[in-house]
Symmetry: C2
Subunit: 245 residues, 2 copies
Amino acid sequence: MRRGDAVPLYHQIFLALRDEILSGTRAYGSTVPTEHQLSERFGVSRITARRALDELSDMGLVERRRRIGTRVIHRARPAAIDADIDQTVESLLAFGRDTAVRVLAFGAVPADPGVAEALGIDPQMEVLRAVRVRYKDGEPLGRIVSYTPLRFADVLTETALTTAPLLELLLRSGARIGSGSQTISALSADPELVEALALEPRAAVLRVERHVQDDAGTPLLLTIADYRADRYRISVDLSASGGRR
Amino acid sequence: MRRGDAVPLYHQIFLALRDEILSGTRAYGSTVPTEHQLSERFGVSRITARRALDELSDMGLVERRRRIGTRVIHRARPAAIDADIDQTVESLLAFGRDTAVRVLAFGAVPADPGVAEALGIDPQMEVLRAVRVRYKDGEPLGRIVSYTPLRFADVLTETALTTAPLLELLLRSGARIGSGSQTISALSADPELVEALALEPRAAVLRVERHVQDDAGTPLLLTIADYRADRYRISVDLSASGGRR
């Protein structure tokens, strides 16, 4: 791995602590590691550790007091959303309070090889592509790019997509959902996603890719959803057998 | 969100394409978007788009040829590992070929508030902490930080941890696993993780936090596993009911 774009160490430490404070992992009022603890943990000099704490203090995230130590003085926004693995954030949020959807793009596009494979069609055949951003409390939560076969052009309209989850629209049109699979991964945001989700360049995002087939095994939907890592996570209950394996 | 550490746009585009090539998402021999396509997609000038392609070419990842266009000439490493949601990568890999574990740290430490809550003990009480890195094909896959109650000190030793998954060791000692929960999230690596997993500063990582209780509901284990996003992802099958909700 190349380390071409080296960020100074003190700034990396600052960023890591900042992320924890902004996301609420380090709660309001909690103690921040001391210079000594930081220098031990990250194997850096006390000067480097101090600079990271100075930056946090300059940003108004912590308060440094003699003898008492450094404390978090930032109240994090509402906790990240916990989505159940079996539920789409779509279903969870579409009609929830404080959520909204904006359609960034909608229309027929030629399928690239990955999309063609997922939908079981030939590359370059046209598919319906919808790009939406979901908002919660007025801030972007995730960008959802969906691909569906052209035969759904009647039910999937830009207006319909702002009022109901895509899967719901497919069901209303008579489609019967048979099976599906999800892949969860992480990646660094590209400039397009940075823009859509109001992120920092190269911020970490959580990706959920979903393939859905109808009850005859015919592909219905490919969805690639990228969520802000500070606002979204996925919870899964483990059965005893699962845990025991 | 602050954009303090702005990375130039052409470099962000380069990094996004590079990630896709290195991870195999853009396969050997496939076509890379043209300057024109990149400038449309990211809303940048052709000069910016060209610079991103130049960087890819300088790194030997793509070959630009007149008329034919730009093609990927890098063969990605073996595909990322797909782990089933019900299985720990631990169980999957511990005895697999080409995998190895290295114990970075092991011993009793005072529980911080989060660990104390997870294990149902008072803060500052001692718990067993193990920090391990798992390797596959000689390269780091993930760092696993585990916390268990001190009563397991007999079965959990540094040597034992290099030979068997932690959960396996707990089972051998007579513990009976009752239930568990997992939370999956994404974050940017801090300097410690960058070092352990040979990452770029602030690289995206996939985090799996797992809480396991015994059959009486007593906490057995808290595990925080951070995986390299380019080498690890999680797959989940969806039941029809799950998809339909």
